[in-house]
């Protein structure tokens, strides 16, 4: 474990640079959450989305209540329940948001196993997103009342509408066990992805660039330690450091927002933790690839930031996905960070934990893991190739002579 220990010490000696990034990030995170908390409410109340509610489940008080709630905040666009009509409307931007209530929705809802409402967000998605939030809010609250006990449907609906008509700050206090995720925490979880990537790339490239210095490599090759053991111990150290970074960042997250999370379902918190852990694995794989190309300490932080910023902007970590253009979104899908923010968005809007509700979450997580695996493989192949060419062309020696 000599190599493993040495790796640790190398990371330790670079703590100043790491601490700097860390503190910049903390300031950024706190500032961003503070700013956006204001933005959310003002922005949304100003826009009135055009919405369409298609119901295939007859006319129930539950849906009537929903429709009236939506009308209060938006403009209804009535459309026929024909695929063509719906497609046309969304194509010509006649409506921002279409919600299609499936058959049996009402009964399923009151049996405690709600069906998903199919939604189509069109045009400027910010408005559609707002409409979507209205629907989620309404249904969440209705579920809460319904879970509370023997209250008949009419009473539930009227209470819900009454609660919703009270403005935002009060709304939070009314939520019980299933309160939505605190916006600050959600934002923290979102941008934590950036600092995870930067920190891990810096740590790993510090380790590898120390060991790849040509004369040190030669000296290490003289020792009776297998090359595989060298890289194995380096990877192990990288993994331990990554997990430590993850733990630290999560602890800070809870320290900052823990008090506001008391009402949130533990399973949602668990999923958020899992998601950040997965993105940590992705960051580790990215780092192992990037460190193959990072040779000088000067290029290190530039490379780490460039990579992390690029991925985070493209992947919708800094700019919410629903605000990004269609064409960028197609590119985004090829970044692991896109799947990170997608998973996070899904998790934070969860109202129940049925198989098909969770499916997109699992899918986004699997996509991230697939990315991690692919990047690891590429890194492995490239490092094999680099090692070989070094032996053949003796570039070690050339650098020694320099």
């Amino acid at each position: 474990m000599t190599v493993f220990k040495a790796c640790f010490m190398i990371v330790k000696r670079h703590y100043a640079a790491l601490a700097l990034y860390f503190s910049i990030f903390m300031v950024l995170a706190v500032a961003m959450t503070a700013l956006s908390a204001d933005n959310f409410s003002t922005d949304f109340s100003a826009t009135r989305p055009a919405f369409t509610l298609i119901t295939r489940d007859g006319h129930t008080p539950l849906l009537a209540g929903l429709a009236s709630y939506l009308r209060e905040h938006g403009n209804e666009v009535v459309l026929d329940d024909r695929t063509e009509a719906l497609q046309d409307a969304s194509f010509y931007h006649a409506t921002d948001y279409i919600a299609i209530v499936p058959q049996g929705f009402h009964d399923a809802f009151f049996d405690g196993e709600p069906l998903k409402i199919e939604t189509v967000l069109t045009t400027e998605s910010a408005k559609g997103y707002y409409a979507d939030r209205l629907v989620t809010q309404y249904l969440n609250l209705a579920r809460l009342y319904q879970a509370a006990g023997d209250i008949d449907e009419e009473t539930i609906i009227s209470s819900v509408l009454k609660d919703l008509s009270i403005e935002a700050p009060v709304e939070k206090k009314h939520f019980g066990a299933g309160a939505p995720v605190n916006e600050g925490f959600q934002l923290y979880a979102q941008i934590v992805c950036y600092i995870i990537i930067v920190l891990i790339i810096l740590c790993i490239s510090n380790i590898t660039s120390a060991f790849r210095r040509p004369d040190l490599r030669m000296r290490n090759l003289c020792a009776p330690t297998k090359p595989r053991s060298f890289s194995g111990q380096q990877i192990l150290c990288g993994a331990v450091v990554s997990i430590a970074a993850w733990l630290l960042l999560m602890t800070i997250g809870f320290a900052l927002y823990g008090s506001q999370l008391s009402g949130t379902d533990g399973r949602i918190i668990g999923l958020i933790l899992l998601n950040t852990f997965i993105v940590t694995v992705v960051a580790l794989s990215l780092a192992s690839l990037a460190s193959l190309f990072i040779r000088s300490p000067n290029s290190q932080s530039a490379a780490a930031n460039l990579l992390a910023l690029g991925l985070c902007f493209l992947g919708g970590v800094f700019v919410p996905l629903h605000m990004m253009g269609e064409s960028i979104l197609t590119v985004s899908k090829f970044t692991p960070t896109y799947w990170y923010s997608t998973a996070l968005e899904h998790i934070c809007t969860l109202t129940s934990f049925g198989g098909d509700v969770l499916a997109p979450v699992w899918q986004a997580m699997l996509m991230q893991l697939a990315f991690a695996l692919a990047i690891f493989c590429v890194a492995l192949v490239i490092s094999k190739y680099q090692n070989q060419s070094e032996r053949f062309f003796s570039s070690i020696q050339t650098e020694l002579e320099a």
Binding site: T2, V3, K5, A6, M9, I10, R13, H14, N206, A210, R213, D215, L216, M218, R219, N220, L221, C222, A223, P224, T225, K226, R391, F392, S394, I396, Q397, L400
Partner: protein, 309 residues
């Protein structure tokens, strides 16, 4: 201990080692002497299987050496020409790391590390990072990292470049002590004096070839020239210079800058003859030195160029 047979190493068109042969016995301090670019480092790196070579074979401890011969590597210590230590680790951590690659046992290693620190006189610098060390101290750290685990066979590639004379003597003394404790040493340098002082056997290399091998006495006996005589004179008429040139047994006589230099053939002694001639002609002379032949003379005669850079 070391057998190298017919080793050929090419860098593209350049032949860095040209059918190189070498045998080193247990208990020797073997010196590889040669000018810059003669292939000393290349030879060592090939022996250690750090470089691929085109042809030839290397046996260490009687067994063929290869990149995966970890059992052999365990018994070897290497001090590279370039300082190869971790910039992030302190003096003691560096030594402990490199020693740890060979000696997993912690208690045993601790004693070895302390011994290496004493050996290189780095006691006051334990907690220093390499960038805070002077060039000479860094060299000493480089040596400590290579020998801390008490190897049976030690390669030292120009370990004393940029080291002040005092530390250099300390290091040479240390190498002698390692040798007395049973280690075989391969030492490269282009400081002839150092090699002459230290090594029991010497190989002179040039352009990737071994030009001569033997003890320093053997090497010096190989060449025509013997001692070199220098006399300081104010004036020397041509006729007398001719007379001196006529002395049998002098291979080379020059007069320039008020100094007369002469070389004897090997084994000759002509000091009194020369001085007699000068006295006879009433020529006053200043200081007179006589030097035994150096390895530089050996190199000069064999290759036709100076070894000194």
């Amino acid at each position: 201990m070391i057998q190298v047979h017919n080793l050929v190493k090419r860098y593209g068109d350049l032949i860095a080692l040209d059918h190189f042969d070498l045998t080193i016995h247990k208990g020797e301090i073997f010196g590889l002497l040669g000018p810059n670019g003669s292939g000393k480092t290349t030879a060592i790196n090939c022996m250690l299987s750090l470089l691929k070579y085109s042809k030839g074979e290397v046996k260490l401890f009687g067994q063929p050496m290869g990149p995966n011969r970890y059992a052999l590597k365990k018994r070897i210590g290497v001090v590279m020409q370039n300082v190869a230590v971790f910039n992030e680790l302190t003096v003691i951590e560096n030594i402990n790391y490199f020693c740890g690659l060979y000696v997993p046992d912690k208690a045993k290693r601790k004693a070895l590390v302390e011994e290496a620190i004493d050996f290189t006189g780095l006691g006051d610098y334990r907690k220093f990072l390499p960038k805070k060390l002077s060039g000479g101290l860094l060299r000493r750290l480089n040596i400590a990292c290579g020998i801390a685990h008490k190897p049976e066979l030690i390669f030292l590639d120009e370990p004393t470049v940029a080291v002040d004379p005092q530390s250099r003597n300390h290091i040479l003394e240390g190498i002698r002590k390692l040798n007395q404790d049973g280690a075989t040493v391969v030492y490269t340098s282009h400081y002839m004096e150092e090699v002459e002082q230290l090594c029991s056997r010497i190989m002179i290399m040039d352009k990737g070839k071994a030009v001569a091998t033997g003890t320093k006495e053997e090497l010096k006996a190989m060449i025509r020239t013997g001692e070199k005589l220098t006399v300081e004179l104010h004036a020397l008429p041509e006729s007398i210079l001719e007379e001196i040139r006529g002395i049998e047994g002098l291979v080379q006589v020059d007069y320039a800058d008020n100094t007369l230099t002469m070389r004897y053939a090997a084994g000759g002694h002509h000091l009194s003859t020369v001085l007699d001639i000068l006295r006879r002609h009433d020529i006053s002379f200043g200081r007179v030195f006589s030097e035994p032949p150096t390895l530089n003379d050996v190199f000069l005669e064999i290759t036709g160029t100076e070894l000194k850079d």
